[in-house]
């Protein structure tokens, strides 16, 4: 069979150890988020006005890193990809939920994970956002019996892009790397333009 990873899936350690790992991975996650400036709502909100696209850069760097890592570890036989959890697809709720989430993101200036970093570094707006998140989850919980049918609709299971597009996994990985690098180049251009607004005007004239 395939190699040893994911270790927990193959019973290499128990639940207690898994919870210690949760804390350690969380510490590293929080550390890098703070290092990247994700605990600062002013910096994050620059994403929505094309002045500071750190959110896009950080998020896509992370996705590309983990995606390439998964692909090559699996290729080398060190990790059984079929045992790695793929978030399940529910088309309609995820599109509607994403839109609502996005509006909240632009309004609040932080996302659930980064609000914890903001609060940890003393940002009071981070605390207000955490309180709002808890309220939102409560609202959803109370409304759940009424919207249960919609929330469970258009289920597609662990549906992946290679399956949906009919391409090999490697091709999808390659395309996403190209898209991410293109987005990074675009982000750099937008930031330069925001810093020197005279330049594009000259180009336009």
């Amino acid at each position: 069979m395939m190699g040893g990873a994911p270790f927990y899936e193959f019973g290499r350690f128990g639940e207690g150890t898994s919870l210690v790992i949760a804390v350690l991975l969380g510490i590293a996650f929080g550390w890098f988020l703070e290092q990247g400036g994700m605990g600062n709502a002013r910096k994050l909100s620059g994403q929505f006005y094309f002045t500071d696209l750190s959110v896009l850069k950080l998020m896509f760097s992370a996705i590309v890193t983990a995606m390439l890592g998964l692909f090559w570890l699996s290729w080398a036989g060190l990790l059984d990809l079929s045992r790695v959890y793929v978030p399940e697809t529910f088309i309609a709720p995820q599109i509607v939920g994403g839109l609502v989430f996005g509006v909240g993101f632009a309004t609040g200036g932080l996302c659930p994970g980064t609000s914890c970093v903001a609060a940890a570094t003393g940002r009071k707006d981070g605390l207000a956002l955490i309180a709002g998140m808890l309220a939102g989850v409560f609202v959803f919980g109370e409304a759940f019996p009424a919207i249960d049918r919609f929330a469970d609709s258009t289920a597609r299971g662990a549906w992946t892009l290679p399956q949906a597009l009919g391409l090999s996994q490697g091709t999808v990985v390659g395309i996403l790397v190209a898209v991410a690098l293109g987005a990074f180049a675009g982000a750099e251009w937008l930031e330069r333009r925001a810093e020197h607004p005279a330049r594009p005007m000259k180009l336009a004239a």
Binding site: L68, W75, Q163, G174, L181
Partner: protein, 216 residues
């Protein structure tokens, strides 16, 4: 705001090159999973049977089909007429005798099923004897498929995440999940009662399932 980060152009460029190389090679490599090969001996077979690693549950098979498990071959060894009446999606009909001589793909995963479980178990031995390593049979046969995948009965007290996962699977195959109150769910055998759940069932695996379903 753009100048408040310490940029490292050299390292960033090196990482970009690394990503390009990794991405281009991934396109060439195509599939990340490489076929595995192995040899079989009689003691090994006995061990597998004893440890009940020889079969899949209907729910597992349903996930494999839905998730498009690479090189999955589902073989129906019932009569032609029965196959025409109803069969598991993605299945092909193969008479038991044919299994002894049909061309095989050593990288494939074979799953056999019959009406009950007996014929499929015999087919399992044939395929193992022919050197196939990834061979399973549906222990409860087509009955198990109909009960667990097409018409599962789930107790209303079942955690939502688990219910979601079962409902999603059932809907995918065009079946219908019924939510029943816990009293009647315990009198009717259900996939959640443990009787027919995962073959390598252990507390750890159950815990994993539970926490993994909650991605976020």
């Amino acid at each position: 705001m753009t100048t408040d980060a310490r940029r490292r152009p050299g390292i960033e460029r090196a990482l970009a090159v690394l990503a390009i190389v990794g991405g281009v090679l991934a396109v060439i490599a195509g599939s990340p999973a490489r076929p595995t090969r192995g040899s079989v001996d009689v003691t090994e077979l006995a061990r597998i049977v004893e440890h009940e690693e020889d079969h899949v549950t209907a729910m597992e098979l349903a996930r494999w089909i839905r998730d498009d498990r690479p090189r999955l071959r589902v073989l129906d060894i019932r009569a032609d007429s029965e196959f025409a009446d109803f069969h598991i999606p993605a299945a092909t009909r193969v008479p038991l005798a044919e299994i002894a001589r049909m061309p095989l793909d050593s990288a494939a995963t074979y799953v056999l099923y019959s009406e009950g479980g007996t014929h499929a178990a015999q087919g399992w031995f044939l395929l193992r004897a022919r050197g196939m390593t990834h061979v399973f049979f549906l222990r409860g046969g087509l009955y198990e498929w109909l009960e667990q995948v097409m018409n599962p009965r789930v107790a209303s007290t079942t955690p939502r995440a688990q219910r979601d996962s079962i409902r999603a699977l059932t809907l995918w195959f065009g079946g219908k999940m019924t939510v029943v109150d816990s009293a009647s769910a315990t009198t009717t055998p259900s996939v959640l009662d443990g009787e027919l759940s995962a073959p390598h069932k252990s507390d750890t695996r159950e815990t994993i399932r539970k926490i993994r379903r909650r991605a976020c």
